[in-house]
């Protein structure tokens, strides 16, 4: 009698443990990009070769920050077991990786390169990381606020053959599937994707947290691996050639009118935009 009790106890424990492991074995990969801070007014270089990034404040791309937040929330909810962040660029992007670690990511990977990459190159490098890490979910920002391409997540989905949930404003993991509510032109659309899957974030997915000082200190001890992009076997030959960057056409300075009557009169007779 007492022996039976003894043996059933550890069995139940094992059962619970297995269940807990089943609940949270999902690894989430979050690619992030170092970009100019969104509040900075960019200046085009005098030789029109590109915008001037010397001595300009840099930050995590806002959409990538939302991706990190979503991954950390999945971990806090017990859905995800590990959050891995990856960034492609020179040593300076380690600053953004450390920030992501301070926000709650577990470890970081820097793919070291100083090459000018097209989204296709980025997607191919990320494909190698996905092959190695085998995440269940990859969450990216929908676009970077510098190149404004809105391509990388979709390209990564194509290369990995995984389904994509772009412009996500809601992500619900449900067993073997993830339901993604997307911001589309006429409103919202919800799709069910089989896992593993690729999700790209829209601004309304969540409100990213601030990193606390203790978490910033802790982040310094979290693992950050550096891999050379050249070791990953991806052809990084440029596919596009940036010929010129110019400032946009300046608008003519307008006038301030005093009354609504004056405004209506100007719109009718001067600008001729209303009848």
């Amino acid at each position: 009698m007492s022996q039976q009790k003894m043996s059933s106890q550890p069995l139940r424990l094992v059962g619970k443990l297995q269940q807990a492991q089943l609940e949270a074995t999902m690894k989430v990969l979050v690619p992030i990009k170092r970009v100019i801070d969104y509040n900075v007014k960019v200046r085009v270089k005098a030789d029109n070769s590109n915008v001037d990034l010397a001595n300009v404040k840099m930050a995590i791309n806002p959409f990538c920050e939302i991706a990190v937040e979503e991954a950390v929330r999945l971990k806090e909810a017990g859905t995800a077991s590990e959050v891995v962040v990856v960034s492609i660029g020179d040593k300076s992007c380690q600053e953004q990786l450390r920030t992501a670690l301070a926000l709650g990511a577990d470890r970081a990977i820097q793919i070291d390169t100083d090459a000018n990459l097209d989204s296709l190159h980025v997607a191919k490098l990320l494909h190698k990381v996905v092959e190695e890490e085998q995440p269940q979910l990859v969450i990216l920002g929908k676009q970077s606020i510098d190149s404004d391409n809105n391509q990388t997540g979709q390209m990564l989905a194509a290369l990995t053959g995984l389904p994509q949930g772009t412009f996500a404003s809601k992500v619900v993991v449900d067993g073997e599937k993830v339901n993604v509510t997307r911001e589309v032109d006429g409103g919202l659309q919800t799709l069910a994707l089989s896992l593993p899957a690729i999700v790209t974030t829209d601004l309304r997915l969540n409100e990213p947290r601030y990193a606390s000082l203790p978490n910033i200190m802790k982040a310094k001890r979290k693992p950050l691996d550096v891999k050379a992009a050249t070791d990953l076997g991806v052809d990084l030959t440029p596919r596009t050639n940036l010929l010129k960057v110019t400032p946009p056409a300046e608008r003519q300075a307008g006038i301030v009118v005093e009354t609504v009557d004056e405004l209506v009169e100007k719109l009718k007779n001067e600008a001729k935009v209303i009848a």
């Binding site: 007014k41 960019v42 085009v44 915008v51 989204s119 296709l120 997607a123 510098d146 190149s147 404004d148 391409n149 809105n150 391509q151 990388t152 979709q154 390209m155 990564l156 989905a157 194509a158 053959g161 389904p163 994509q164 772009t166 412009f167 911001e183 032109d185 006429g186 409103g187 919202l188 659309q189 799709l191 069910a192 994707l193 829209d202 601004l203 309304r204 440029p238 596919r239 596009t240 050639n241 940036l242 010929l243 960057v245 110019t246 400032p247 946009p248 608008r251 300075a253 307008g254 006038i255 301030v256 009118v257 005093e258 609504v260 009557d261 209506v264 719109l267 600008a271 935009v273 209303i274």
Partner: protein, 308 residues
Amino acid sequence: MSILIYAEHDNHELKADTLKTVTAAQAIGGDIHLLVAGENCSTVVEQAAKVSGVSKVLVADNAAYKNQLAENVSLLVLELANDYDVIMATALTTGKNFMPRVAALLDVAQISDIIAVESADTFIRPIYAGNAIATVQSLDAKKVITVRATAFDAVATDGSAEVVNLSQATDAGTSSHVSDEFTESERPDLGAASVVISGGRGMQNGENFKLLEGIADKLGAAIGASRAAVDAGFVPNDMQVGQTGKIVAPDLYIAVGISGAIQHLAGMKDSKVIVAINKDAEAPIFQVADYGIVADLFDVLPELESKL
């Protein structure tokens, strides 16, 4: 040169922006075909066949394309891609969704959101929220391009293209459609309206957006919003104008209670005439406005409505 354009539609109506993408294709030059992928989309096919400058309309009418899922549409376009030098789509949410997938499957870079065609391989596109304009040359043999419709005029609808039905029905089987939640509106589409009136944080609440409705009705305008107004829950997100929302370039844009942050200007500063109504004379919106009025919007809006 042969060009395939993906037709934007909702299975009932061809989106007018597709007519603008045809203009961009004509600037590249070549034989232009339209692809209509959807389900029970015969009315769209009829409209597509009349688009001027198009010689052929390819139709993939199948349940697999009903919701234009990126996984299925990209495989369809990939199958057709062999016959084309250029594949184009309008930079709306459908095109933005599946086109990069096509580009990666074809192993080419995509040129996103072009605003002008310089030559058959060189294109102009805004970067950094429209604060810089890049001239980009594509080095790939096959070009995959999305087009900012507001930068081009629409072609006429007096054509008569040949209609070819395709038998393709590619279902990747990795995604499925669950539901849609569309915003009902009698007003013109935000992207296509010739007049847009937008409200920002200064509107204070969603109820006050009604103050814009009377003016919108009188001007036949669409109603837009800044991100601040959307985030505060005043209005739904599909009304957002800006870098991350819709890009508009109407004849007249009226910004009400909008400060004019970089991200908002990115979505509307190519409007022909900009009017700002704001009580803060220092608001950055006045730097791009043709006509500004420094006053309380709650005084100005009713008066404006009564005087239109």
